[in-house]
Amino acid sequence: MRISQAQPRSKAATRAGETVILFSVGGVTFAIAANAVDEIRELTGLLEFRPGKLHHRLEKVKATLERHGRRYFAVDAAMHFRMPHAQPARLMVLRQGRVAVIVDGIDRMQEIHSIHALPERFVGEERNWYRGLTVIKGKVVPVVHPETFLNKAETTLLNAALRDVEAPRRMAVTA
């Protein structure tokens, strides 16, 4: 299954609301701005990524994806959110950066009309993870910050690790 968006939807967030994609990880539903997602696809085509010793925060990057001649890093959403269990089945390719997110499933697209600030009482990593919370049919759903799955510095580190991993392979092919 592939769902693609041909054009960026920069006007998705309007005064009337914002379109989000609801996705699930470990039984929890999350929302992400629809205009932050470029493609939703199955997990086929992922290449295992074992870069050796990297910062533990980057252990969540489990695979890479070759797409349109570009290499994307696939972040395990369950590890990103420190969740113990997940059943990965879908990949969300993000529009910004070379980042894809491994999730359990995609629920649907949904118009939301308000995002509540995360209560001040939350002081942990969730302050980075979430733009806020929205309520959909009485259910509280965190709205994620797409750019926090992998920031620029982390991507730079991963690119360097990727070069290290691939260099011996290239040398072997040349020999």
């Binding site: 420190r82 209560p119 001040e120 939350f122 942990g124 919370l133 509280v140």
Partner: protein
Amino acid sequence: MTEIITVRQTFVLFPLGKKRFAFSAEHVSEFARPDEPQTFPHTTPLLTGVVVRRNQIVPVADVAPLLVGSDAPVRKFYLVVNRKLNGKVSRTAIPVTGECELTEAEQLPVTGKLPAYVSGLLSLKNEIVEVLDIEKLMSGEVRA
């Protein structure tokens, strides 16, 4: 001659298992039977989820394990506590194990070694009740 002035304040007493604690009544806005708390990933200690009360998303802080240990009985109600946090009024739902009581008493200073989140003591008929400071409780401050 020195005149001793006693200031009586109003407190909300709430049970956690066999023990009772108190919050200053001016900080308590609501006592409610709980909706099922909703959870999502986070890393803040003590918070167990959120409930939606009057169109507001209120974090739930289960302080029972900290105050009475892990074998506290089932929490049946919520006490919603209001405090100013970073200049904004912040509401926190505290699960409690039974009915609450409103009482007027004089707050006595803390004596002896008590955790930093105990801001005072109430001497009631047959018990001494610890008055809690929600901010220090949430920050996990424990007096040595």
